[in-house]
Symmetry: D2
Subunit: 304 residues, 4 copies
């Protein structure tokens, strides 16, 4: 039995995502925001915290990136993805919908549906889609846009399902824990890190990427972020294919360590989409160990 | 006199930013969201639209990036930055504060202030900080967290100013117009573009960055974004130093055009911070024209 | 009718190579060494000079490289390759072979044959293999190792043909003329140049090669050479696939012009082996002109 | 006491170079050519062989490069440089000079002197400059152009010293031995290697050089050489700053091992010019070991 913090309240997409990786015996505690959920792990109140990191429509969750890159260190040990589906829900007896509550993201992702079906409805912002569902269950508003999970949780009726403008939208969540353990390689892993470069110059980022490229390590995500809350000084959040226990990834990290002002390891963990890296054969672990054995032989004068 | 669309409602930070670049005779029209504001330009209802693109605390505005990169083409013709300062405001006669309204971003950026001063207050989400101020002026809630501009606009009293957790936070806004004009180079310009790479491989992004580096063009921003609303297929939003009319920037763009599946020019415009690029001497316009003249001479057999 | 200088004397491999590209009406003048042959063009005594530049066994002809890179400018307008075949030849009546004359290169390339067949013969050095044949015809020595051409020229009998240790050895010759003309592209061209880098640093050569790589230009030869006859300061002699009139090659040269302390164009000419460059489709002339038209459209506001 | 093979005969520049690194008790054995001298080591007849590898005027000695790169493996354990000075010498009693003997390289390097002072003299080629001096001592010819060392050895009179056209010309010799030992790092070392790339493509050489550049390793020499005696298939002979026992050099070699079809280590040895590498601080051994310790800590969960 483990304790999991998550971005609450109960009924959010994050809770739905968390249920995919926990069992009934685990304890799930909602927190009001990303920082609070991560702090629960930092202070020992929870072993893990699940927070959203990237939404295919709304973009990255900057607070999550910043907390991981510059807050007290945590590492990602798992990722979960969840299709983002929105449902319009009411109390069972409701007939007329004049006031719809939802989180602003919910409104922005369901704009077309609302415009077509409830052009005259007033849309009221809530702190989360789950909060909209909860308030609806208490009699506020006429309807809520939230996840189907929330409807079940608050005894609401789904009037229309999958009403988001973008089909196939998903949210990626990461499970953070204190440094100290990392999951074993699975063959379809991702490694996240933050790279701080001292002074920006034409080619600074190029040097960072070259460290990956010479080891055949592919990147799946990159974003520059202002360091220290001000525009001007930047660091990079990078997701790379592979696991830190794999030679090419570890070697790339030592290279970054040498050329960056600072680097922070943010975790190696199985990809939710189970996609395997397209590692060239000459960059696998065997090739690395063979090349090091050869070097050792050459240094000892037993090979050329 | 020009017509400007902006992310409304009246009283938002965006309006405050817009007032920095417009005159009293210009017409300013608020729109409910980024897409609507940009569509006003696309449909000819406005000449320009000002929308936020990046907040040093909250991160990029994904909708703005996506609209520019994949929506009907617009180009950025100016940028404006605004320090993000939050004020707590009430109606002039208010004494007790139990219910505070603000946009969720306002809450997340003023969390420490609220916890220290109004630990028991209920925080209610609104669609924007300006909407909170407006509702407050109509008698809903006891207080609002919004920009000082909003207080002035709605006749509210500022109880505490500059209450954000992060000092020095700023928001960057971009002014978009239809393609067809771009501002002349100023010596401190930025060029934005979206680069779509066909298939991701170790080194695809490296090739993109190399096109800039070989021409001595420095980057100030980079972010990978999923193309088409799904995680997996990516494009890159890139800000580079310099102006498309400068030889090194234009040349880098032709290089990208050749190696990318697609590339979209998003505008060349003066940087709000007036920082000049650190272009090496051998990469200035004179060096480019000299090298091309030399090539022409060599091709004509008049030089070697 | 043209006048051709060549590395003499009459009967050398160079003359044999020259006969492949001249007609009976042309005038062929032998010179004692590479510098003298090239100077004949510089001073107007000849229109062209054919000199060896690279032998697959003996390596590059440094004098040719240095003359082209640092002497008074000439450009290569053609290349000729010749299989290097050595023959042992005598006067028709000779029976016993005790003294064999040849150029030191001839000796070094036929060492195995000599050791197996004439282990006790004395080998005498001459200034060229042709000089050995000529001296033999005057009654000096018992035999000569030279090209079959020389045997015909001096009325000698070939005792054994193709006696070189290395099968498939070839020599590459270049035809130099005054700058002012260069041959039209053939689709299988080579471009030669000398690149002088100011100060050597880790990556200086990398930058040079990157200029080629970003334009998809493959190299077929590279050699560092000390500049000014002293070890320590270097320049690079580079052969690249393609013709200076092709966009990607011309563009790469302008890039080199910008980053190198100096660059000298040494000619674009058809490859003797007629091998076509493996230019990726997105680096052909059409792709370059398309990308430049696009840039022009974007600069004029008619595209994005 | 050691046995040294060298490119003879006695009196050559190679012998003069060898005397700089041997003592009177060592045994010095001349061989007729580079291959024979190196074979003496391969067959155990000598412990070391000194052969020329590069002349600042005449260029590289291709046979030496090819023997080291593709012959039975040997490693370079030292290098010696020698200023190339030519002297005109005669028997003590000689007055008139009509016939001058020398190696073709001697003639080519003293062309101006001969043209100015003995315009009508016949120049006769010998197998080496020492052979010219030796023949002169036996009464053949009137004069010889050879090293001052040869004059002393054969009891000849130096008529004019330092008559080469190029001042400051030097020859670099390498001392080869069987693999098994290599000299300890001195702080001013050079590492030589041969890199075989499978198929040539735009960027193949770039990848090779990138392996050095990412570790801050500077190159001092590079030459492409046809593999197998035929033009078309290439390998590269590369000299890099630093010693294989240094982390950055060893690491670069493992990188090459992974990406090259084959790589051969040709030795790490002190530079004759004692020039120290300009290694950036973040690429020294300490930086490498620190980065590897960090990786180990991260892998064990004790750091991020």
């Amino acid at each position: 039995m483990s304790t999991y913090a998550y971005l609450g309240p109960s009924g959010t997409f994050t809770e739905a995502a968390l249920r995919k990786i926990t069992t009934d015996s685990d304890q799930l505690i909602p927190y009001a925001n990303v920082t609070a959920a991560l702090n629960a792990v930092r202070t020992g109140k929870a072993e893990f915290a699940l927070v959203p990191i990237e939404n295919s429509v709304e973009g990255v969750v900057a607070r999550t990136l910043d907390e991981l890159a510059t807050g007290e260190p945590l590492v990602i040990v798992a990722e979960v993805t969840l299709p983002v589906t929105f449902a319009l829900m009411t109390k069972p007896e409701t007939v007329v919908i004049n006031r719809i509550a939802t989180h602003p993201h919910g409104e922005s992702q369901c704009r077309t549906y609302i415009a077509n079906n409830y052009p005259n409805a007033e849309v009221i912002a809530t702190n989360s889609t789950a909060a909209a569902a909860e308030a609806l269950s208490r009699g506020e508003f006429d309807a809520a846009i939230a996840s189907p999970t929330a409807a079940a949780q608050y005894g609401l009726k789904i009037v229309a399902d999958d009403i988001g403008d973008t089909q196939g939208a998903i949210t990626r969540f990461v499970l953070a824990s204190k440094p100290g353990t990392h999951p074993s390689p699975t063959g379809h892993d991702r490694t996240s890190l933050a790279a701080f470069i001292g002074r920006d110059h034409a080619g600074a980022l190029l040097e960072v990427l070259t460290e990956f490229a010479v080891r055949g390590v592919n990147l799946t995500f990159i974003q520059s972020r202002p360091t220290g809350g001000e525009l001007g000084q930047y660091h990079f959040i990078i997701d790379a294919e592979g696991h830190i226990d794999e030679a090419r990834v570890g070697d790339a990290l030592t290279g970054l360590r040498r050329i960056c002002e600072d680097i922070r390891f943010l975790g190696s963990y199985a990809r939710a989409d189970k996609m395997e890296p397209t590692t060239p054969k000459n960059m696998n672990d065997r090739s690395f160990s063979e090349s090091r054995e050869w070097l050792s032989e050459v240094r000892n004068g037993r090979a050329t």
